[in-house]
């Protein structure tokens, strides 16, 4: 009781004198995220993965490319090789650690690029409306009509294998999806009263897009884009698995899954490990993006 009575007189004058600034949008999002244990755990795992990828040379016990014929396909728990060895006798733990680098790059890089290009296309189409909208969006729909895996494979196949080409094809796959979302949100916002009100107070098209459209549209697109990271991870793994992404002997989880598939009957636990990593990473990105969506919903 004593604590309460002493606290209240301190709190009220502060609130009255200082113009209590309403907390900004992003600090509210952060606050809400902090109260979401699932999203926090997912974020924690992702941070750890990134750290592992960054400090791979210090963490990996062995060279990930150096194999040995005598210690091929050791099971999990072998002394010295905690996670066993692969079909060429390379240490699985080291390869998984190094693999995080390429896998994360291939998962994460295409999304922000596609986010920028796709948002620009979608917002332009949504704001312009009419014929321009139809023209842009029908073109986008042509790309959207292909299943994403098929499109990625086709593009990578056409461009040839390699990391850069895989990144380019993944970006192209995501642009139509993001453009669709951007267009639909922009079309909704464009018709709202505050856009009219801005125009009625003298704002021109550029100002309206920059201030009112972007401010209201980026949130939803951003959330959608974060959910694409996990898709990108899986697609990238798929490309590598098909030999269209990273080339051996580089360590990448999708590629490792491919090369280990011959060992699936002899040593299934080791063969599944890269898949487990892909699963964990993509589910963490998904959970985090779910949490972000909940936190960015102003109405709740």
């Amino acid at each position: 009781m004593a604590a309460i009575t002493t606290e209240i007189p301190q709190a009220t004058p502060q609130a009255a004198i200082a113009p209590a600034k309403s907390p900004g949008f992003w600090s509210g999002v952060v606050k809400k995220l902090c109260r979401d244990p699932v999203a926090l755990c997912a974020l924690g795992v992702l941070v750890i993965l990134v750290l592992i990828a960054v400090f791979a040379p210090y963490l990996a016990p062995y060279d990930p490319t150096k194999g040995s014929v005598i210690r091929r396909l050791k099971p999990i728990g072998t002394p010295g090789y905690i996670l066993g060895t692969d079909e060429l006798g390379r240490d699985m733990l080291s390869r998984l650690i190094y693999g995080a680098r390429l896998s994360l790059i291939m998962g994460v890089v295409p999304v922000p690029i596609a986010f920028i290009i796709g948002s620009a296309i979608g917002i332009l189409a949504g704001y312009a409306g009419g014929t321009v909208n139809t023209l842009i969006m029908r073109t986008v729909d042509v790309f959207y009509a292909f299943p994403s895996v098929l499109l990625a494979v086709a593009l990578s196949g056409a461009l040839g294998s390699g990391l850069t080409n895989a990144l380019v094809s993944l970006t192209v796959v995501f642009i139509p999806q993001i453009a669709r979302v951007a267009e639909s949100v922009t079309t909704q916002v464009r018709k709202l009263d505050y856009v009219d009100a801005a125009r009625a107070s003298g704002a021109n098209g550029v100002t309206i897009i920059r201030v009112h459209i972007l401010g209201n549209v980026l949130g939803p697109i951003f959330v959608f884009a974060t959910s694409l990271i996990s898709v990108s991870m899986i697609l990238a793994s798929g490309l590598s698995f098909l030999g269209l992404g990273v080339r051996p002997p580089d360590a990448e989880w999708g590629l490792m899954l491919n090369t280990l598939r011959t060992a699936i009957y002899n040593n299934p636990a080791v063969a599944a490990l890269p898949g487990v990593m892909i699963f964990i990473t993509s589910i963490c990105f998904n959970l985090f993006s779910d949490g972000l969506r909940a936190a960015m919903d102003v109405k709740s």
């Binding site: 949008f25 009263d193 505050y194 009100a197 801005a198 125009r199 009625a200 401010g215």
Partner: protein
């Protein structure tokens, strides 16, 4: 008509929307003048073209809308303005208050920021100066604890408070003309009267010319100097408030006044105007009100009445007075 040098001068305005299969003629030959420091209420039911008339003054219609006629605001020909000049006109000379303040303010910015942006759009001032002016405006529209309220987002404020903020924003650049699009419709009754009194007071103080769109004849009587009654895209009666309310000439105005709650005298049914407004995409020849008019005669079905002087300063568009 009474004003010698009108601030707003609309003559023979026609607005046609080309959306959908058929063009819709929302405004049909409207002429209206508003003098300096005068409040004119545009009265009419939904779809009678009152908001469309008002928005034409800022050319705020969607693309593909045909606007014909002559409109002059504060000596400027609105129809001839370039996009850039139109932007300079909007907000600085003519500003607008919307019906639904919750929708007319951007949810992702603080209200203070939005007012500052409006000021900085039209005048070369620093942000801190704009912020100081926003604060003064908030005090003028009597928002309690204005410093704190400026930092609020629209969802943190009540409807009445938001409408005050909206008015503050509309007045930010000292306009000559205020267009109010049913600014009290979305508010509850006690707040309505406060907002009306505020607009009236600010209008007198700043000498604003106001077009006030409403469908509530009581609100119109409260705030306006003159009333223009619209039906199906035309002005059917226009005159000083007292004249129109005391001695309505057009059968539609008579019907509107007859439908007031006060006249029901405790009966549970109100007097109504039978029928419904005509389809603007499919207008019949003759007076648009004729099918619903109790006083209609044969000629009403074929001749469109023009707005003619009906004694005093009023004008009426009805064949009875032609």
């Amino acid at each position: 008509m009474s004003a010698t040098n009108p601030v707003i001068d609309i003559s023979n305005l026609n607005v046609t929307f080309n959306r959908g299969r058929r063009p819709v003629k929302a405004v049909n030959g409207v002429s209206l003048t508003v003098g300096e420091g005068e409040v004119v209420a545009l009265l009419g039911e939904s779809g009678s073209g009152k908001s469309v008339t008002m928005r034409s003054l800022l050319r705020l219609h969607p693309k593909g809308t045909d606007i014909n006629g002559a409109m002059k605001v504060a000596g400027r020909d609105v129809m001839a303005l370039s996009t850039r000049d139109l932007g300079n006109l909007r907000g600085a000379v003519v500003s607008m208050v919307f019906q639904e303040p919750r929708l007319a303010l951007d949810p992702v910015y603080t209200i203070g920021r939005q007012i500052e942006e409006t000021i900085m759009r039209h005048e070369k001032v620093s942000r801190s100066e704009a912020a100081a002016r926003a604060l003064a405006l908030f005090q003028k529209v009597r928002i309690p604890s204005p410093e704190r309220r400026l930092q609020n987002y629209p969802h943190e404020m009540s409807g009445g408070m938001l409408q005050r903020a909206m008015i503050a924003m509309a007045l930010a650049c000292n306009p000559k003309v205020l267009l109010a699009d049913e600014p009290t419709t979305a508010l509850d009754a006690t707040v309505q009267i406060q907002i009306l009194l505020l607009i009236r007071e600010l209008q007198r103080e700043l000498g604003l010319s106001v077009i006030f769109v409403t469908h509530d004849i009581g609100v119109a009587a409260e705030i306006a100097d003159r009333i223009a009654v619209m039906y199906a895209g035309r002005i059917v009666e226009e005159g000083r408030v007292a004249d129109v309310i005391k001695a309505p000439k057009h059968p539609y105005t008579q019907g509107l006044l007859g439908a007031r709650v006060e006249l029901a005298h405790g009966r549970d049914r109100l007097v109504t105007i039978p029928g419904s407004p005509p389809d603007l995409a499919n207008m019949l020849p003759g007076c648009a009100f004729a099918p619903r008019c109790p006083q209609a005669f044969e000629a009403c079905k074929s001749t469109v009445p023009t707005l003619t002087e009906g004694g005093d300063a009023g004008r009426v568009a009805c064949l009875q007075y032609a």
